[in-house]
């Protein structure tokens, strides 16, 4: 890319970059299907026959979801790291990374979405706790 100090040239570059990107979207298949995005966009009043714009929204949504999921993953990993080492050996078998409401609500809070846990009543104090903590 030609980094020209002149603003008009720079804008021209941006123009080219944008049109290139939009053209590349034609070949790119986002994980979020076009039909779904079109459905929700049509619900909101969005009206455009251009598939590239739909793809752009799809990609943006996918990026958003990926960011949220990445955040939640970091929360999940951090939570697992706080468990003491001797317990971690026991927990080794279920080291699977699980997307939980706890992590997700923390991740979503950064994006302005407040998720509240459903109220939860247990018949015994140990119900719903981790099997490790129940052992103690």
């Amino acid at each position: 890319m030609n980094h020209n100090p002149q603003s008009s040239e720079g804008r021209h570059d941006d123009d080219v970059a944008l049109s290139d990107f939009l053209a590349s979207l034609m070949d790119y298949t986002p994980t979020i299907p076009d039909e779904l995005v079109e459905h929700y966009l049509a619900k909101s009043g969005f009206q455009c026959p251009d598939v590239r714009l739909t793809r752009l929204v799809a990609v943006a949504t996918q990026k958003f979801v990926a960011e949220v999921a990445g955040n939640a993953l970091q929360h999940c990993k951090a939570r697992q790291a706080t468990i003491p080492k001797d317990k971690r050996d026991k927990q080794q078998k279920d080291k699977r990374l699980v997307l939980t409401m706890e992590d997700l609500s923390k991740a979503l809070r950064e994006y302005g979405v407040n998720v509240k846990h459903q109220e939860y009543f247990a018949d015994s104090p140990s119900a719903g706790m981790d099997p490790v903590t129940r052992d103690e």
């Binding site: 990107f21 299907p33 929204v57 949504t61 996918q62």
Partner: protein, 379 residues
């Protein structure tokens, strides 16, 4: 609680129905769940809590909706119905303003060089495309409606001038006008009832009139039958003996016996008591009820078969014959309108619907006539 099970069952049912009502796009939600799950899997998750997956898919669906709203709004603000790239970028910037993006502080920046777009370009370049797991049909499916063919399409002429050709044609006449099964049992009871009432109200009268006219034509060949006469007789039939057509001289002998015979046959069958009275020889009464007696004799003593039949199922036979008698009434009235006594009887018969009433009256009349035969003779 004894009825706890039932209650909880109902409570469990309610949310599902409500949810179905509110949702409407369960299909879209299901697809969103799969897509979000795929994205999460690519991020490194192994498993999900069901509720977390639902929340995330719901949030992402709302994200798309909000982008759409924002884009639509900015397009409308520029006076356009269709959106273009810059509207979309503007919408993405609006959605991303909470996190912030590079160059967000520059208010006058060009949308082409927006930080949001750059981030997206970076994301697309880094992430390898993961296609959606399932093939998706186009949705929502809009069912095509089949309209009723118009007059033009059917090639029919509209029944009225003021109906334009392009309007949908009327249904086949059989469906809305008189149908052959109207009196059948197949139609709905209410409509049937109404029809019956209408028939009883209007249909019976012309029939009666027709009968009267026919009978009077047959029996009174010499006397002319004009409409007013027919009307008068009809009134007489309806119960007022004083409005009956005046007797004509020489008409006395005209009254034929045969049609009333059937009628009186019915009466005689109705109440055997009459028989006893009639058996007592009183000339005038005998004269009046001669046909009845004859009929009685024929039915009661002539054939064994008849008698057994009557004895076995008296009720149905009697009822049936009353129906017949009712039909004959008009004729007989016409035939015997010189005899006041008889006419009175007949008019009573017309009026009374109750079988018991009829019996009683016939009995009463017989008694009266027996008690004072002079009156009858005078008549």
């Amino acid at each position: 609680m004894s009825n706890g099970g039932g209650k909880t069952g109902r409570l469990l049912e309610q949310p599902s129905t409500q949810r179905r009502k509110v949702g409407g796009d369960d299909f879209a939600q299901a697809i969103a769940k799969v897509a979000v799950a795929q994205v999460c899997e690519s991020e490194g998750f192994h498993a999900f809590q069901q509720s977390a997956l639902e929340v995330l898919s719901d949030v992402s669906a709302r994200y798309i909706l909000n982008i759409g709203k924002s884009v639509h709004h900015s397009a409308n603000l520029a006076g356009r119905a269709e959106c273009n790239v810059f509207d979309v970028i503007q919408g993405l910037e609006d959605m991303g303003s909470l996190q912030g993006f590079t160059g967000a502080s520059d208010i006058d920046h060009c949308l082409e060089s927006s930080g949001v777009v750059r981030e997206i370009v970076q994301f697309v370049n880094e992430a390898q495309p993961i296609p959606f797991a399932h093939p998706i049909p186009r949705f929502p499916i809009v069912k095509e409606r089949v309209p009723t063919p118009s007059f033009l399409q059917r090639g029919e002429e509209p029944p009225e001038e003021h109906i334009p050709m392009w309007l949908p044609a009327f249904p086949v006449p059989e469906t809305h006008s008189e149908s052959p099964t109207r009196n059948g049992k197949g139609t709905e009871p209410h409509a049937n009832k109404v029809e019956h009432e209408r028939e009883n109200g209007k249909g019976e009268r012309p029939q009666l009139n027709l009968q009267q006219q026919m009978v009077s034509n047959i029996s009174e060949k010499s006397t002319l039958v004009d409409p007013s006469d027919a009307k008068a007789t009809r009134v007489a039939v309806e119960g007022n003996p004083f409005l009956a057509a005046p007797l004509k001289i020489g008409d006395k002998e005209v009254a034929s016996v045969a049609p009333p015979a059937k009628l009186f046959n019915v009466i005689a069958l109705d109440n055997p008591v009459v028989e006893n009275f009639v058996e007592d020889k009183s000339i005038s009464v005998l004269e009046t009820f001669a046909p009845a007696i004859e009929a009685m004799k024929s039915t009661h003593y002539d054939s064994e078969e008849d008698r057994t039949k009557i004895l076995l199922n008296e009720k149905p036979t009697v009822r049936f014959k009353i129906g017949m008698g009712n039909k004959f009434l008009g004729r007989s009235t016409d035939l015997s309108h010189k005899k006041d006594e008889r006419q009175k009887t007949l008019s009573w018969f017309t009026m009374e619907d109750e079988k018991d009433d009829r019996k009683r009256r016939a009995e009463k009349i017989l008694r009266e006539s027996l008690e004072n035969p002079d009156q009858l003779v005078q008549l």
